[in-house]
Assembly symmetry: C2
Homo-oligomer: 504 residues x 2
Amino acid sequence: VKFNTAVLDVKAGKKSIIINEDDANEIGLELNERARLTVGGKSTVCITETTKTLVNQGTIAIYRDVAEALGIENGSSVDVAYEPSPKSVEFIRKKIIGDKLSANEINGIIGDLISNELSDLDIASFLFSVYYKGLDMEEIKNLTLAMLNSGEKLELNGFVVDKHSIGGVPGNKVSLLIIPTVASTDLYIPKTSSRAITSPSGTADTMSVLANVKFSLKEIKDIVEKTHGCIVWGGALNLAPADDMLIRVENPLRINPRGLMLASVMAKKLGVGAKIVALDMPVGRGTKVLDIADGEKLARDFVELGRSLGINVRAGLTYGGQPVGRAIGPALEAREAMAALINPESASMSLLSKSASLAGIILEASGISQQGQGYNVAMDILKSGKALLKMREIIEAQGGNPNIKPDDIPVGSYKHQVVAESDGYVTLVDNESIVQISRAAGTPSDKGAGIILYQKQGYKVKKGDVLFEIYAERSSRLSDAVNLASYSPPVLLEGMLLKSYPTE
Amino acid sequence: VKFNTAVLDVKAGKKSIIINEDDANEIGLELNERARLTVGGKSTVCITETTKTLVNQGTIAIYRDVAEALGIENGSSVDVAYEPSPKSVEFIRKKIIGDKLSANEINGIIGDLISNELSDLDIASFLFSVYYKGLDMEEIKNLTLAMLNSGEKLELNGFVVDKHSIGGVPGNKVSLLIIPTVASTDLYIPKTSSRAITSPSGTADTMSVLANVKFSLKEIKDIVEKTHGCIVWGGALNLAPADDMLIRVENPLRINPRGLMLASVMAKKLGVGAKIVALDMPVGRGTKVLDIADGEKLARDFVELGRSLGINVRAGLTYGGQPVGRAIGPALEAREAMAALINPESASMSLLSKSASLAGIILEASGISQQGQGYNVAMDILKSGKALLKMREIIEAQGGNPNIKPDDIPVGSYKHQVVAESDGYVTLVDNESIVQISRAAGTPSDKGAGIILYQKQGYKVKKGDVLFEIYAERSSRLSDAVNLASYSPPVLLEGMLLKSYPTE
């Protein structure tokens, strides 16, 4: 049935049509059912919303994204028809009851996902079924290939390596040291990274303080062929759009099914043509890997999957029990990373040695260094200032100021210091509390917000020493964060009461 | 921060605000994050959608449901603020990893659900966690009470009994015989039923052909105190709104977690004050109960839950392998039910005896009949014409025509008969195929659409005998249904090829 369209300029994160209730009844469409919109050769499936008065009979309202997908404008004529659930909804049901999916079924799910045929609830069903029923190695490989084939590829004329962190540790700004270290050699390292999801700052957020991070694949190719490296936002690319679409629903659900994580990481690494991948797997309280045994199992799965896909994966379990370095939050982390490149001797050892370890894994695997010498070679590159020069090249190639000094980077002007109320040793630095406080302070959207940790686990402190300092760009955010820190302390001293009861 | 409101008249099935992107950035709200709207003493939580041009800075657009919840109109001023996830999202996370929930936690989840604080994805998370991790009997009891307390109650001056089918069998119009049978005695049976979800016709759809089914609790009280029975749509009541809100998300997910099913049924039975409940549990291909063992387990759980809540539950496993009676679809089923009441001797035995069995369970449990005599007493009421008279009273009390004859009920004027292509016995009547074909023909929204089965399992047919007949209100729907029936035959004869390969 033909309708006129009224385009609503709303970015709804989902595709809907809004149709007059009487029209909906006439064409047999109900609330939340699928409707297919067709115009010319283009077609898309939307979820039905109904209205009494927003649009009259004969007109449907559609959101901006839908109009763009159909290439139509306000007032265009479109055909609207009831659309049954796509075939892949049945495949998802198979996984819900625990059946193994064939390559065709996985391709069907990813194909429908990419064509926007699946609703958010369908996608959630797929995510939960994989979370609870799992995927075997063959399913994961097929999912990886389906995700890879859903997107475009970066093709570089060089030997490509990559680094990936499976995340979960605040302050993990190691990519800003690793990329220039590796890029100082003959290797290419086109690092695509994410923005913060649950953390105070993703690598892309931190780098965005120093340079642009949003580029096309063509631009990245130019940057990497010139400098051997880049640190860009992966979300603007089209490397594995199916994965991005799954992640959009996965994040609010806060589940991270292992099979999808493996496929997601490897699809993007295949997409940039990486032959060697160093995996940073932080282990410990508040990370995604609970203990060493769990980490070893995950590492073995990554290595096996990589082998079946032609990628040499080297996984490093790293200590993730407290933040890396001292700074948490985009601008504060960018300051710390630049300071570490400028003066490695004064840098936090946790930052410097973790960066050299992971860079070293890549250098050994690629034959740039001898076995057992990767760490030392990487440390030499860092301490010689070569990594700093390379980082300046990369910042410049990405449109930033290559000569930026740490102090040039603006941070929040609202600050609050928390001091030790007694002498003692630091027994715990609580990642989760740090994340909560940083986010209350405004990270990642307020780039200047965050935390500087002055004391870490095992440090001896005296009464009155500053334990940590909170930064915010807005006073209301600062007081939220300070308030949160008072009842969820991120730095605990030996002998300190965690809580006293009764609390009043 | 204060905003003007523009009310969009859209029934979106979800609560959103649409805010200018610049405003969203300024107040730190991101796409899909929660926003709290407050005006006067009223407050509600919405999901954030962003726009560049639909609204200017300083104005938000909200949907009709949200405006009604806040009691505001176009142009009113509201306060908008970022809202963190409610506490119950953490409780849901506990269930996701398989922890047991306390009464307080369950009350927290149901409370937030009722206050519209949970997004559809939060609700989906709860549903999947219960589907995969289950609820123990204590959790189910607490959930039942939380659901009960979320709603209003029907208070009748009489001894209340009820009947419930856990569904899954097409053509299951037994309530239209059971209710008048039981209501012919001293018992009260206020039957609230659902509209079709996945089936061709819910009891409320079938009854809506004969009378109104949408009443308030007050009106139902009047009807039942006058006639001892009613057959109304439960969705218009407010007996357990939390349950309705879960079901709204459960239906598109097509999962039916057992613990929720138990709580959902019992909350509604408690809500009408039932002391005795007869449970119809169809078992077999295409039903919700796979086999007898599964049915017995579920029956035991219902009985145990009922006991802990003061309800005498009597569960009857019934044969659900093929439709009950011959008619499928609202109008066709209403015709068949009225014909069976008018002339029980000619009625389909599967319909008559199933109805008498379930009514008999109630009559025995309540002491109206002696043990072992319930079926006979119920059959006497049916055959004596008392049930017919009672049904006419109920129809009249619900605003229908008490003297309606089966042939007065309009059915679809587009018909197609499918005949046997050979002699043979009917080996299978496929519920699932019948449901698909009926829905293709237009049920449940086209009341006159559906199927009449002329042959059922075990019947001997001759070449040319009519196997079944499809009814539709629209020719396009009829051809869809006929087409579907040709490659997914609902009535299979011994020796008949299910499919031939290759298909071309």
